[in-house]
């Protein structure tokens, strides 16, 4: 019996040993990235880069967003230098740049055309005028709606909807008997989950996270109005179990024809418009993110960027890869291989000027407009000491955002808005005091 066990084990070892060929001795770049669709395409097309640069080989570490964030942060904070290229968000870039963890990217080649990068995206990943990462794709937020449901209910979609209008319209298209829910929104707690929606919502209602002296301003009428709107609308017109819905779950609901309205990231546009992935490809409409009593404030800007840790020993080779993967030529390469509708969006003016892109992506104008007006550094109604659109650009925000996110999510399952905001306020005050604010 034991002999049989050992036999199976040694056969397996032998088989895999035989199959694993030894690697070549070249410059090896370790690339850490998330497994979103655009990055999977990058991984596949990177063989072209290896063909052009015979002395460079790429090793991929592909992980889910939260696992990747933890993995990469451990490595960079201990300066272990396991990675040569990191995929990080515009939340991390300025914070990590200030710590001296990232290499500045100066004197980029002329044909890279830095000025072609959309200004808000470029500014979000710069610190004191220097770029610390190159944008791979970028997103803002917009409203998606079902043209057929609106037509049936006799509603015309306003060009610039307000949150009050949205709620009225959501009520009209809700038909829970046929599992049609008027409004789908993120309910899953997390700083990058429900708070990515709640933060711009609060801004539109005239609120903000902190006042000029870094005192939390969560227990205020503005937050109360915003969270009441969120909680009531989602409970009355939203799908059941909304607290477990993040981007993916809502995408599945919307694509499966279960939602009347959905406000979320602009990257969903390409997916909802693709008949292979969406049952409502012919019946989806687009509008800007709604506004409230305060218009023109920061809304939503996220980008996934490629950066080089200062601890990497292969700075030159890493730089040549990230300029390749974020170049105009790369976007053209994706267009050739997968069609223009599949190119990584949101980073370059030249993409939005391209007639082929505009032809296949009727939402392109909305997306560009949303990014250009995302205004992450702009003012809230009252002056604020921080920047960031759907997040607060301080290291403590991951913890604060997630904690407050959990309290906000609890209003969907019965906690009163008053109580939720009071406890969110005191928890945030405590965290900020421990972190040594005001700084």
């Amino acid at each position: 019996m034991i002999r049989r066990c050992l036999a199976v084990l040694s056969t397996a070892l032998g088989l895999t040993l035989a199959a694993t060929a030894p690697g070549q001795s070249q410059t090896i770049l370790t690339v850490a990235t998330v497994n979103n669709a655009d990055m999977v395409v990058m991984q596949r097309l990177s063989s072209r880069f290896e063909q052009q640069n015979a002395n460079i080989r790429l090793r991929w570490v592909v992980l889910e967003e939260n696992v990747l964030r933890q993995r990469v942060t451990t490595d960079i904070a201990t300066r272990a230098g396991q990675f040569d290229i990191l995929t990080i968000g515009n939340y991390e870039v300025p914070i990590w740049a200030k710590q001296g963890w990232l290499s500045a990217l100066e004197n980029l080649p002329a044909d890279y055309d830095v000025n072609d990068l959309l200004a808000p995206v470029r500014e979000a990943i710069s610190d004191q005028g220097k770029l610390y990462a190159l944008p791979f794709y970028a997103e803002s937020a917009m409203t998606y709606y079902r043209t057929d449901l609106l037509q049936k209910a006799g509603i015309t979609m306003p060009e610039k909807p307000t949150y009050a209008q949205l709620r009225e319209m959501a009520e009209k298209v809700t038909d829970k008997g046929s599992q049609t829910y008027g409004l789908c929104l993120r309910g899953k707690p997390g700083w990058g989950e429900n708070m990515a929606f709640v933060t711009p919502l609060v801004t539109a209602f005239g609120g903000q996270w902190f006042d000029k002296e870094w005192r939390p301003t969560i227990n205020t009428p503005q937050w109360r109005d915003a969270v009441t709107w969120y909680s009531e609308s989602l409970r009355q017109f939203g799908p059941p179990g909304a607290t477990s819905n993040g981007f993916n779950e809502n995408l599945a609901l919307m694509a499966g024809g279960r939602c009347g309205f959905w406000i979320d990231s602009t990257v969903a546009a390409g997916l909802l418009y693709d008949a292979k992935q969406s049952q409502i490809a012919e019946r989806v409409g687009f509008a800007p993110i709604p506004t409230g009593s305060y218009a023109g404030g920061p809304t939503w800007l996220w980008s996934w960027n490629l950066a080089i840790p200062a601890s990497s020993k292969q700075q030159e080779a890493a730089r040549s890869f990230i300029t390749w993967a974020t170049s105009k030529d790369y976007i053209k390469l994706v267009a050739q291989e997968n069609g223009w509708v599949a190119v990584p969006p949101g980073t370059r003016q030249s993409t939005y000027d391209n007639p082929d892109y505009k032809k296949v992506a009727p939402f392109a104008g909305f997306v560009q407009q949303a990014i250009m007006s995302a205004n992450p550094g702009g003012p809230t109604r009252e002056p604020r000491p921080y920047t960031g659109a759907q997040f607060v650009a301080i290291p403590e925000f991951q913890g604060i955002g997630t904690q407050v996110g959990q309290t906000i999510a609890s209003t969907l399952t019965g906690t009163s808005v008053e109580n939720a905001l009071r406890s969110a306020q005191s928890a945030t005050e405590r965290t900020m005091r421990q972190a040594g604010y005001p700084k």
Partner: protein, 273 residues
């Protein structure tokens, strides 16, 4: 006590029911891996569907399965061998030459399992950086060996305790030294126990995901990292993730099936267990 036919039938049914309940998630995973991505999230879930191998093809195209599988085998075997090499002598001493501190030492060893691993992540990461063990199979095998050591010592200790001390004593009377005593007396008597301890350690190593995700990047990454690379915050991934998971659990499942008699015998060895 004679059982009636009805009783036997009920027990059989119950046994099958429990087995099916335990096996159902794995079965569902294997079924999901054969669906299309859209089929995988369909509500109500599809029971009858045309199986497709698309997900397997895509998973294999995106990652080098054999590389990860080899790492998993090498690291699990390495960790288990290390744990047994340290655990057998330790358990031997504790079982046959106990001191007043033995009991306390055993309990203290177990208490190390109560610390959440993330609490020591940064110190271990720094140590590994200094020793050049990051992203190496050796490093991970050492961690796994040490991680399983308390359980291995405890299991071996209980197995060794079953062996009557008189047998070893008789051996010593005949002039056997410690080595011979172990090799000719203890080992044959407790081989099923040692084997099942090794198997359990192997399975624990195979399934471990925290250290393997945090201490490896590419070169030494085992199958747990392979699975982790197919869950996505954006877009549909259930079928691909199921395919990757099925491929990751298949080797240990087949291995466990071959060794099941050994496993069961070891785990039920002795009267108290």
């Amino acid at each position: 006590m004679r059982q009636t036919l009805l009783q036997r039938l009920l027990v059989t049914l119950l046994g099958w029911g429990v087995a099916l309940l335990l096996f159902f998630p794995i079965l569902w995973m294997a079924l999901t891996s054969l669906k299309t991505e859209v089929g995988a999230i369909a509500t109500p879930p599809q029971i009858a569907f045309t199986p497709v191998l698309d997900s397997y093809a895509e998973v294999l195209a995106r990652a080098d399965y054999l590389h990860f599988a080899f790492n998993s085998i090498a690291i699990s075997v390495g960790g288990t061998v290390l744990a047994l090499a340290l655990g057998i002598p330790a358990a031997y001493v504790m079982a046959f030459h106990p001191t007043p501190r033995t009991r306390g030492t055993l309990l203290w060893m177990l208490s190390t399992k109560m610390l959440p691993p993330v609490g020591v992540l940064v110190p271990i990461y720094l140590l590994f950086r200094a020793l050049g063990l990051l992203d190496s199979r050796t490093g991970l095998a050492v961690i796994y060996g040490l991680m399983n050591l308390p359980i291995v010592v405890w299991m071996l200790f209980t197995f060794f305790k079953e062996v009557p001390g008189e047998i070893l004593e008789a051996g010593r009377m005949d002039g056997a030294r410690t080595g011979a005593e172990f090799w000719h007396l203890l080992l044959p008597l407790t081989l099923p126990g040692i084997a099942s301890t090794g198997l359990l350690s192997l399975i624990l190593c195979w399934n471990e995901a925290f250290w393997s995700l945090n201490l490896t990047t590419a070169a030494a990454a085992p199958l747990t990292t392979f699975i982790a690379s197919f869950s996505s915050p954006q877009g549909l991934f259930f079928a691909k993730l199921s395919a990757a998971s099925t491929m990751a659990v298949a080797p240990i499942l087949v291995f466990g099936w071959f060794c099941q008699r050994q496993l069961v015998r070891g785990l039920t060895f002795g009267a108290v267990k």
